[in-house]
Amino acid sequence: MIPSGICPANKGKTQTTKQHNMAFKGAIEIDTQKCKGCSVCIDNCPTGSIQLSKMVNSKGYHYAEMIGEACVGCSNCGIVCPDSVITVYRVKI
């Protein structure tokens, strides 16, 4: 079973970008049709890897999208997303 919500690397403790940059690279996938553009994920991302798209989805929301390559796969965005539309991937490097 996937340990939902807990970062396996640091057992759920608050993480710093620095620690993570050394060991992990991450990526996120957003269900843009279900995203409501609330920006709570953006506010919780330690690496500035999320922004609101200029485009809107079929509900008219400016949905969240991943930017750049700084994501460390910490899952912060996933756990705070009220609509649970984010999947987080991670590789050890």
Partner: protein, 257 residues
Amino acid sequence: MTIEDIKKHGDIVYRKTPLLTDTVMHYCPGCSHGTVHKLIAEVIEEMGIQQDTIAISPVGCSVFAYNYLNVDWEQAAHGRAPALATATKRLNPEKYVFTYQGDGDLASIGTAEIIHACSRGENIVVIFINNGIYGMTGGQMAPTTLLGMKTATTPYGRDAKLNGFPLVIAPMIAQLDGTAYITRQAVHTAPAARKAKAAIRKAFEYSQKGIGLSFVEIVATCNSGWKMSPVAANKWMVENMFPKYPLGDIKDVLKKE
């Protein structure tokens, strides 16, 4: 390694729990209700108790929680969830029974029900979403509304002389011998949400020990009712709600000193 490679070859470290249905939640963007639903669903998934959980939904914005969290549900009349949970748990003592209630539901019309369920020491879990307002009906003052806070029915801010003082439920019920675990949490940041999840899990575990009622208050936002953006509402909550409703455990009968 490209982003596509990471998605292809990396581990999935977070994904929507299958305990949540595919139905799009009706909540406003950024509403705390969705986050709390998700945390409860993750706890039920991780404990492997989907078949053994019965939930009671309230009247309030979260009335439709039964459409989102895939367990058995009952829906109570306004404020009466603890009474329904009492009957449900007594008839099915092996089941995990929890209520999910807003502050209008629990601290206003349902005050008698929650106090007596606590006093009787019912072995249930109560999840209490304190957003300081009646969200569903358009943002009227709740008993929990802060002094000075503007709502539809206190357009100049809540005034103690006219509207009384905020009702702080958790320490009141902590005095009752029937309560086992009382905690106050929030879900506005990832660390807070992880702590809240651990508290919810503890409450579920305690409810099977026969030691009384477990109560998890979530200090929450209603950004629509507060007339703020979701991110601004989280900030406002930290600055204004937390001083009156500080986070942390209030009672834990099993904690060894």
